[in-house]
């Protein structure tokens, strides 16, 4: 039995409320936990669970109308403040005035914080050096010159190249990963005892995420910092947490050390959460069974040499155009009844590829040969908008954002009925009946028809989007990050719905995602995209277990595994382009 390190922050019965028009909304409801010195505590939960508000309550930086109602946030300053007195010095942060000098002296010095969106969390009109220097000068009396020198040192520490030059750059000149590094450098400015990281890697690509996680871990080992890490991603938890607290609806439903939470979860919610995470990242049993029963059919869609160039205007006086090849000579094929996954990081061109196939964007070169129901093969890339109408009945799309893909001003019946109405398939009563049928098919009650999209949750909206997609009896559905905006527990439900529909309606899918776990669950074949090209493709299991291309290897090695026992067993590789 190892003696537990001393506590640094003890939270007892914390309650934070938001005043709304319909009365107070309790975002944090009687939360208690303890953060130990040098340890990482992961606060995990789905959207709206109150995990982020809890983190902000510690520093009393909850935006109005939110405020702490009751509870204690005890900070053991003798463990956090540098050069503090030897004796016990315990401060209750919740009792301090949020505007007082006392709590300001703690913010940034004892406890520093980093946020989800590094771009919007940095001021766009001040240089990085200025913003880091400010953090130093707030708590220590140093000259501007010294502060700048320290800022350069900090940037070097977070592994930013050429810090003496980049220190004078603006945030918009940094890449996403660099910005988060700069945020971390700023947080480290006064060597705080505690770092609160509020979903710091959610907005980043998985390879960048792995780098940032490694950096935080390294800094923690160097300085003995305690980290309160807020995340929704069980994989990240397994990767970094010493202790875990699971939040739901403002309450902590379960907490404990990482191994016991992952291996012996007690609460149903934790079990469900872990279940849905573990269910992903391996092939769907149902899909495998189905494929054994019914082998794949002929090739329906054959894309060859597809290229899409965007032109970006540059130059002050003369228009020079740099074509950006978002999709660069991509070839792929899809067979009847097959699920093809396209995986890639942001900017890899995977969404553009999906939209080019459906001709949302015009293509620059290449062919998209689609064999329609009538047996005729046409090159979609060469058809006019009117000629495309027939093909677009058979190829449908499901969008990423269930908010913006449904017109908020139309009822669900109008949204789902629209494609059938404009294609002249149903009218009047028959249309209403058909919409009801479709709703039941996607697991929504018929009564949903009269409502507007704002009455539904994210997962329900995505079901409405799916109902619209299958309304025309399509053969191929292109799902563009269709589950990315959903919480993990909803994610598997939607994927299972799609598999269910595939069986009933004989569908084939092109499933575009950045999330390899989802693709592994859902797809028979996978194509890995990097900078507009497909670098590797093949059967999903083969590519996932034995990747050939160095980029695929790097990508897979960066994916956090929802199993704390795997921690440190894999060697992370970085992919650097040669040329």
């Amino acid at each position: 039995m190892v003696i537990a390190p001393p506590p640094v922050i003890e939270i007892r019965n914390l309650v934070t409320e938001f005043a709304t028009r319909h009365g107070p909304f309790r975002a944090v409801d009687d939360v208690s936990f303890t953060l130990h010195r040098g340890k990482t505590l992961c606060l995990v939960g789905e959207s709206g669970s109150g995990k982020s508000v809890t983190a902000r309550s510690i520093l009393q930086i909850v935006d109005p109308p939110g405020r702490i109602i009751s509870g204690e946030v005890k900070l053991h300053r003798h463990h956090t403040a540098r050069g503090a007195s030897q004796g016990d010095n315990i401060v209750d942060l919740a009792a301090l005035d949020p505007r007082s000098a006392a709590i300001r002296a703690i913010r940034g010095r004892d406890i520093a914080m980093i946020f989800q969106e590094p771009m919007s969390s940095l001021s766009p009109v001040h240089t990085i050096g200025d913003q880091i220097g400010e953090a130093i000068r707030l708590h220590e009396s140093v000259s501007r010159k010294e502060a700048r020198a320290r800022a350069i040192e900090l940037l070097r520490k977070v592994e930013i190249a050429n810090p003496d030059k980049t220190v004078d750059r603006y945030p918009f000149e940094y890449s996403g990963g660099m910005r988060q590094r700069a945020m971390i450098a700023m947080a480290l400015a006064c060597s705080p005892g505690v770092l609160i990281a509020d979903e710091p890697t959610t907005a980043l690509d998985v390879t960048t995420q792995a780098e940032i996680l490694a950096l935080i871990r390294k800094l923690q080992d160097d300085d003995g910092m305690s980290v309160l890490f807020i995340t929704h991603d069980m994989g990240v938890v397994a990767e970094i947490a010493d202790e875990v607290a699971v939040m739901r609806f403002g309450k902590i439903v379960e907490q404990g050390d990482t191994l016991s939470i992952f291996e012996k979860p007690q609460h149903d919610y934790t079990k469900m959460l872990l279940g849905s995470v573990k269910q992903l990242d391996r092939p769907s049993e149902r899909r495998l069974k189905r494929r054994a029963e019914k082998p794949l059919g002929d090739v329906l869609l054959k894309v060859s040499g597809l290229t899409k160039a965007f032109h970006i205007d540059r130059g002050a006086f003369f228009k020079k155009t740099d074509p950006l090849l978002a999709v660069n000579e991509v070839s792929l094929s899809l067979r009847a009844g097959e699920n093809l996954g396209i995986v890639g990081e942001s900017g890899s061109g995977k969404s553009t590829l999906g939209r080019c196939i459906l001709r949302v964007y015009d293509t620059s070169a290449g062919t998209v040969d689609y064999t329609a129901k009538d047996g005729v093969t046409r090159n979609l890339a060469a058809l006019s908008e009117t000629q495309l109408r027939a093909a677009r009945r058979e190829l449908r799309m499901v969008f990423q954002d269930p908010m913006s893909s449904l017109n908020p001003r139309m009822t669900v019946a109008q949204i789902i009925g629209e494609p059938m109405l404009v294609n002249g398939l149903y009218q009047g009563r028959a249309l209403t009946d058909r919409v009801g049928e479709l709703l039941e098919l996607v697991g929504l009650p018929k009564s949903a028809m009269e409502r507007y999209p704002h009455a539904f949750s994210g997962g329900q909206r995505q079901r409405i989007g799916i109902a619209r997609a299958i309304a025309l009896d399509p053969r191929i559905i292109i799902a563009d990050e269709a589950t990315s905006a959903l919480d993990v527990s909803i994610r598997t439900q939607v994927l299972d719905l799609l598999l269910d529909l595939q069986e009933r309606l004989d569908l084939s899918f092109i499933f575009i995602s950045h999330d390899i776990a989802v693709i592994r669950y859902f797809c028979d074949r996978i194509a890995v995209m990097y900078k507009g090209r497909i670098v590797e493709s093949g059967p999903t299991e083969q590519v996932c277990t034995d990747p050939q291309h160095p980029y695929t290897q790097a990508l897979l090695s960066a994916v956090p595994h929802p199993d704390p026992r795997m921690r440190g067993t894999r060697i992370r590789t970085r992919y650097r382009e040669t040329s």
Binding site: L59, D63, F172, A316
Partner: protein, 328 residues
């Protein structure tokens, strides 16, 4: 980078100025009949002998029998040399009439702009930070009223009040003894004493709108994540406010200079007329009503140029304070 941006912006304003001058000229040539006919009519009215040879000479000089483009060419090349033609009504070269009045107009507009900013900036910040407080409501109410009263009406009311209740005439920019006097220090002081009345009248509505702009901008910025970041650093509320959200809310504020200043100059036309100020306004009106084309044209052209210059200045200022713009 900044220099390249300014250069680019400067070069862009040349075709703009050209188009502006074309519009100004088209505007003054729009009324039916040519100027010389109007001029002859004016002469005949005042009992002067109409000298046909002189009229012909005038026609010849301005190329009135030529096409629109030729006339424009003669006019604009004259303008570039500083010759704006002659005023039919005043029988003087236009250039002699306009400069002092334009100068006073610009001075009035500049004073108003300073006044507007001095008031709108702090009040806008207060209103946003204390959103929905009593003070905010009072400010919003006053702002609404300020926006709703046409400024000539405000001028009339103020004049009425000063005449009826104080027995003092609020019109004009100078006391009687300085009206014709050459420029001296005392005359400047006298000008400043009179300037505040038109400044308040002219500034009311733009102050009201700037307060609203500042408030709305700041409200947008106050809840941005970078404010939370700064707060988490331990910055005090006041320092934080000034360094981050106010700094960013300044951008749209600065871009208002582009339209606010020229708008004030041309907005003063009406109020100058009501208060009979010796600025460009009354003379422009008189020239328009009397179809004194070259005089009106000169004013319209100068006012348009001022607008273009205002846009230029605000774009440059914006690029100076916001790095994102000069890199775009």
């Amino acid at each position: 980078m900044l220099f390249a941006y300014i250069l680019k912006r400067l070069i862009w304003s040349i075709p703009f100025l050209f188009a502006v001058s074309l519009v100004a000229f088209a505007l003054i040539s729009a009324p039916p009949g040519d100027y010389v006919a109007t001029f002859a009519a004016t002469l005949a009215q005042s009992g002067d002998v109409v000298d046909q040879a002189r009229l012909e000479a005038l026609r010849e000089r301005f190329g009135l029998d030529q096409s629109f483009l030729v006339q424009y060419w003669r006019w604009i090349t004259g303008v570039l040399r500083g010759d704006f033609g002659i005023s039919f009504e005043w029988q003087q070269p236009v250039a002699d009439l306009i400069w002092e009045r334009m100068g006073l107009s610009v001075a009035l507009a500049a004073a108003t702009l300073l006044f507007t900013w001095a008031i709108a900036f702090p009040i806008g910040i207060y209103s946003a930070v204390r959103k929905y407080s009593f003070g905010d409501y009072v400010i919003s109410a006053i702002g609404f009223i300020g926006l709703s009263i046409p400024n000539f009406l405000l001028g009339l009311v103020l004049m009425y009040v000063s005449v009826v209740h104080f027995g003092h005439d609020a019109s004009g920019l100078f006391s009687e003894q300085y009206q014709q006097a050459p420029w001296t220090w005392d005359k400047v002081v006298d000008l400043l004493k009179h300037l505040w009345v038109p400044v308040i009248i002219l500034g009311t509505s733009s102050t009201a709108s700037l307060i609203r702009i500042m408030r709305a901008n700041l409200l947008d910025e106050l809840h941005k994540p970078y404010v939370t970041t700064a707060r988490a650093k331990g910055l005090s509320e006041m320092a934080l406010l000034v360094k981050y959200p106010v700094r960013l809310a300044l951008n749209p504020f600065v871009s208002t200079i582009g339209w606010a200043f020229p708008q004030l100059v041309s907005g003063s036309v009406i109020i100058s007329y009501v208060l009979s100020l010796p600025t460009a306004g009354p003379l422009l009106l008189q020239a328009l009503l009397a179809q004194d084309m070259y005089l009106a044209g000169a004013f319209i052209l100068l006012l348009c140029c001022l607008s273009v210059v205002g846009m230029l200045i605000s774009d440059i200022l914006l690029a100076v304070i916001d790095p994102r713009i000069r890199y775009r």
